[in-house]
C-alpha cells in the first residue's frame, strides 16, 4: 500500500522491511511499545510525517467543537429539565418534551444532514462546511474569535449536542419529578424557604449526581459522534482525520487517536469522580 498502486514487488518488500511489517506481530508490538514509551507513535503511512503531530494539528478544531457542544448541552439540558419538571402540564413544557423525544430519536448524522438542508441549501443563512476564518495563537488555531468562525461552528455544534441535550434534559426532569415528591422537600417548603432555595439547593443538588455520571460518559459519545459531525460538515478536526485514516488503513494514526482518546476520557472520568465528592459528602474519602 505504501509503495503506491504502481509499486513493484521489490518496492513492497523493501517497504515492509523498513516498517518492520515483515516481522511477526509480537515483535511489531514490542517495537511499537518501545517507541510509544518515548512519545514516538510512528509516522503516518500516507503522509510520512509524525502521526502525533498530524493529530495535534487537528486537535484544536475538535476540542472547540466538542467543548462548545458539551457546555451548551449541560447548561441547557439541566436548565430546561428543571423548568419542565416545575410546570409539567404547561404548553411550553409539553413542547420541550416532544422536542426532546425527537432529540433522542434522530441519529446525529441525520440531524446534521437535515440542518444543512434547511439552513444552507434552502434558507442560505449558515455555511454548510469548513471552519471559516481562523486566528492562530501560538500553536492553537481558533475559530472562536472571528465572526465567520462562529457562524461556521453553529450547525456542527447543534448537530453534535442534539442527542446529549435531550438525554440530559430527560434525566434531569425524571430526577426532579422523583425528588420533588420526597418528604424533605415538603419540609423545606413548609419551613417557608424561598422557591429558589428549595429547587436549587434542596432538590437539584440531589438530582445532579446521576446527571454528572451521564455527563462523564458523554465525552466518549461526543468523540464518537464528532467523527460523524466532522465528516458531514468537513470540519478539519481529528474525527475527520480518523475516518480518512480508516479508509486508507493508516494504522499509526488510528492507534495514536485511540491512545489520545483514552487519555482524555480517563482524565475526564477522574475529574467526574472528584466532582462526586463535592456533590455528595457521603462518598468523600477521609
Amino acid at each position: 500500500m505504501l509503495a503506491g498502486v504502481y509499486g513493484t514487488e521489490q518496492d513492497r518488500v523493501e517497504i515492509r522491511k523498513a516498517y518492520a511489517l515483515d516481522k511477526p506481530f509480537y515483535i511489531q508490538y514490542a517495537l511499537f511499545i518501545a517507541r510509544a514509551a518515548r512519545g514516538d507513535f510512528g509516522n503516518s503511512y500516507v503522509n510520512r510525517i509524525s502521526a502525533l503531530k498530524l493529530i495535534m494539528e487537528r486537535a484544536p478544531a475538535t476540542v472547540e467543537l466538542v467543548t462548545t457542544s458539551a457546555v451548551v448541552a449541560l447548561i441547557l439540558g439541566i436548565g430546561l429539565g428543571v423548568m419542565v419538571s416545575l410546570k409539567p402540564r404547561s404548553a411550553v413544557s409539553r413542547l420541550i418534551m416532544a422536542a426532546s423525544l425527537g432529540g433522542i430519536s434522530i441519529p446525529t448524522f441525520l440531524i446534521g444532514v437535515l440542518l444543512i438542508m434547511v439552513f444552507s441549501v434552502y434558507l442560505h443563512i449558515l455555511p454548510p462546511f469548513g471552519r471559516g476564518e481562523t486566528v492562530t495563537m501560538g500553536f492553537w488555531r481558533t475559530g472562536l474569535l472571528t465572526w465567520s468562525g462562529i457562524t461556521h461552528l453553529i450547525l456542527p455544534a447543534l448537530t453534535l449536542m442534539g442527542y446529549q441535550l435531550a438525554v440530559l434534559l430527560r434525566l434531569t426532569r425524571a430526577g426532579m419529578r422523583e425528588v420533588l415528591t420526597e418528604e424533605y422537600i415538603k419540609t423545606a417548603w413548609a419551613k417557608g424557604l424561598s422557591a429558589r432555595r428549595v429547587i436549587f439547593k434542596h432538590a437539584l443538588k440531589n438530582v445532579l449526581i446521576p446527571v454528572i455520571t451521564i455527563s462523564g460518559l458523554m465525552l466518549g459519545e461526543l468523540l464518537a459522534f464528532s467523527v460523524v459531525t466532522e465528516t458531514i460538515f468537513q470540519w478539519p478536526g481529528m474525527g475527520n482525520l480518523l475516518l480518512k485514516s480508516i479508509y486508507d488503513s493508516d494504522q499509526p494514526i488510528i492507534v495514536t487517536y485511540i491512545m489520545l482518546a483514552s487519555v482524555v476520557i480517563l482524565s475526564i472520568n477522574i475529574i467526574v469522580d472528584i466532582l462526586y465528592a463535592f456533590l455528595n459528602p457521603r462518598i468523600r474519602y477521609d
Binding site: 433522542i104 446525529t108 460523524v228
Partner: protein, 292 residues
Amino acid sequence: MISHLLKSKFLHDYLRDPSVLVGSFILLVFILAALFGPWIAPQNPYDLKAISLEDFLKPPSWMAEGEAKFPLGTDDQGRDILSTILYGCRTSLIVAFGVVLVSGSFGITMGMLAAYYGGRLDALLMRLADTFFSFSTTLIAFLLLGVFKQKGVLVVIIAISIADWVRYARTMRGSVLEIKETAFITAARASGAGDMRILLRHLLPNALPPIFVVVAVDLAVVIMIEATLSFLGVGVPLTEPSLGMMISIGKDYIYAGMWWMIVFPGITLILLVVGINLFADWLREELNPKIQ
C-alpha cells in the same frame, strides 16, 4: 394468580395511554413491513436485473418528472426509494433484534453470575463495564469495524454486541444484588436448592423486569448505531440495504435539491426510533414503583 392480576393491570394501563398505543402501532407496522417487505416492495433494489440505470434520480411520482412506477422517486443507481426503504428496515430490525439477543443473553448471564458469586469476577466485570461505557458503544463498534475492515450484517451485530453487552450485565447485576438477600432466596437455599436452581428458577425470573426497559431502549439505540455505522461506510456493505447508507448516498445530492433521497429514509428512521422510544418510556414508568 398474581401474574394474572399484574397482566390485567398492565393491559388496563396500556389501553389507556395514547402515546404507547401510537408507539406500538408504528412498531407493528414496521415489523410487518420488514417481515413482508420482499413481497410488498414494487422492486427488489438489490437484484441487478430488476433495476435500470436509466431510471436514476427520478423525483417522487407526484412531481413533474416523477413516474407512477416509483412512488417516492429513485436514487443515483435507479433503485426505487420505497422498495429500498422496505429492505432497509429489514436490515435495521434484524441488526437490532440480533444485538439484543446476543448481547442480552451474554450480558444477563454475566451480570447474574457476577452478582451471585461476587469477588474477582464481579470486580473484573465492573471495571470492564466502566471502560466500555466511557468509550461509548458507537465508538468501540466503529473502531472495531474500521480496523478489521470486515463488513456485513452479522459482523455489525457482533461488533455492536462486543460493546453493548455490559449494558445488560450492569442492570442485571444491580437487580440481582437487590433480591439476593431477600427472604425467599434464603428460604430456597434452606430448602436445599442448589446454586443452579436458585439462579435459574428464583433469581432470573424475579430480576428480569428492569431488563425489559433496557431491551426496549437498546432496540432504539442499536438501530441508530447501525444507521450511523453504515452512514460512515463501515457498516453493511454497499450490496446490502441500509437506511444509513441511503442517507449517506443522498447527502451527495442535497445541493442539487434532490431531497427525496434523504427525507424519506430519514422519516422512516425517525418514526422507527420514536415508536420504540414511546414504548420504552411507557414501560419505564409502568415498571417504576416510585411513580404511580
